[in-house]
Symmetry: C2
Subunit: 252 residues, 2 copies
DNA sequence: CTCCGGAGGTGTACGCCGTACACCTTCGCC
DNA sequence: GGCGAAGGTGTACGGCGTACACCTCCGGAG
């Protein structure tokens, strides 16, 4: 415990060492356990309380032990986001696209309300994780199944960003595609298989199908699209003298 | 430099000390200078580069010197947000409310694009600063001047949140009002003078005018309001076979 | 002019943080 | 039984926010 530095002469004082190495009942660490514990800690004490040291303590383990399961703190956050995304209810395609999307978005909101730290963490990610891409892909699928054009769906998704995630942004900075054209082709095919809907709407209206990942869309246009949707909607309500009281009455 | 702890016997070795105390040309520190430098640093190197130590170095000063001008790092962030908000163009009431709001929101977006770190920092504040309240107050004023009801304006403001700030949220957690009713009355009057429009829409439809600061509004309702505005708008575009190409053509 | 008080700036120290690196222990497999 | 990898430990480093005691300088009152 105290001072000797040279290669330990005595290999094991079995009881003290054993207790230190595995305090009786503690389960073996695993990536999943680490992530779930981190999420629970963030829920309970806020995202700032999630430090490697505090989390390790929570798990009854030394801080460095975590690094066998997550590469670093950024990757820990990535994993936590995936856990949260995984809690969003899967799509249910019973009624029309509008109801289906509405339900999905409201479910996402409920999930994020359970994890108030999540929007901030999601927003700080530099790239969307597979879980995020899956979620988007299936939501796009719902629009498309409802008959909306790829083009309109594309803009609708941008407009909905703020509703789904609890924040809006130039959503993900979308890293530039690899320079090597051959490699890019491979990556592209891979994406198309895994996230066909995303690739479809990303390329809709784009001339160069290879530039999916690059910013094929005009952020200013997307912003104004969503803004005008809202302003025009408000205007329409204004013109028909809408009031929240009557709205509440109508749909209970 | 090294070891003596007792009250210094020699009061001043004038040249070395003088150089340390004021390196010739450096301007005197001030809150404004500190904040502007912090904003510039964040713009240049990202918000994570804004540490008290780095910022002090930027200013040619020892870290603790900053604490004479900002209470702590949180207050530094608060101040940085105010600097950014101050850059948003003031309202111009020439055309109708819709144009006026549109312009203002687009101006806010331009400002936030210049300071990509800002949305994240704004989102992490626990209370809205006076600058934020001023901005909101005047935007509400624009709606009201255009003839919209306080009620509709209230919901429109919630819906626009995401467009104005680059993120949406249960916008500000709005700290509970002081328990002492007398004190609360004073705070309330104060708010009504400084932010009349905010108070008006906050109390619109609320039965107890004293509970302004408390959550008089139903977050779930606000969320669905904005969501339906978007979904209905998309639906309408879908039904008239809207496409982005023709939209771009129409308004150049 | 002197004196003094307070505002502005300094230096040291503390307890956190993420994580590199070398090590030891344990487990699963041959 | 032995061995290599996977899992866990311990130490150490540099950076962080900031408490606290100090020093210095400036402006105004006497």
């Amino acid at each position: 415990m105290s001072s000797d530095r040279a290669p330990r002469p005595a290999p094991a004082q079995s009881d003290a060492t054993a207790e230190a190495a595995r305090p009786a009942g503690r389960a073996r660490l695993s990536r999943g356990l680490v992530l779930r514990t981190a999420v629970a800690l963030a829920d309970r004490s806020g995202i700032d309380a999630v430090s490697m040291r505090r989390l390790a303590q929570e798990l009854g383990v030394v801080p460095m032990a975590l690094y066998k399961h997550v590469a670093n703190k950024e990757e820990l956050f990535d994993g936590m986001v995936d856990v949260v995304i995984g809690e969003i209810a899967p799509p249910c395609e019973d009624s029309g696209w509008k109801q289906a999307v509405r339900r999905r978005v409201l479910s996402a909101r409920q999930t994020l309300l359970r994890h108030p730290w999540a929007p901030q963490v999601i927003e700080s990610r530099t790239a969307p994780s597979p879980a995020v891409l899956d979620h988007m892909n299936s939501l796009i699928g719902t629009f498309r199944a409802g008959g909306l054009s790829a083009d309109l769906t594309h803009h609708a998704m941008h407009a909905l960003g703020s509703r789904m995630w609890g924040f809006t942004q130039e959503v993900f900075p979308t890293a530039p595609p690899p320079a090597d054209p051959e490699l890019r082709e491979i990556v592209f095919r891979d994406l198309a298989v895994r996230y066909p809907h995303i690739v479809e709407i990303a390329t809709a209206g784009a001339h160069d199908p290879g530039s999916v990942v690059g910013s094929t869309c005009d952020d200013q246009f997307e912003f104004e699209f969503a803004l005008d949707l809202l302003l025009d909607g408000v205007d329409r309500l204004h013109q028909r003298s809408w009031s929240s009281a009557q709205a509440r009455d109508r749909d209970g």
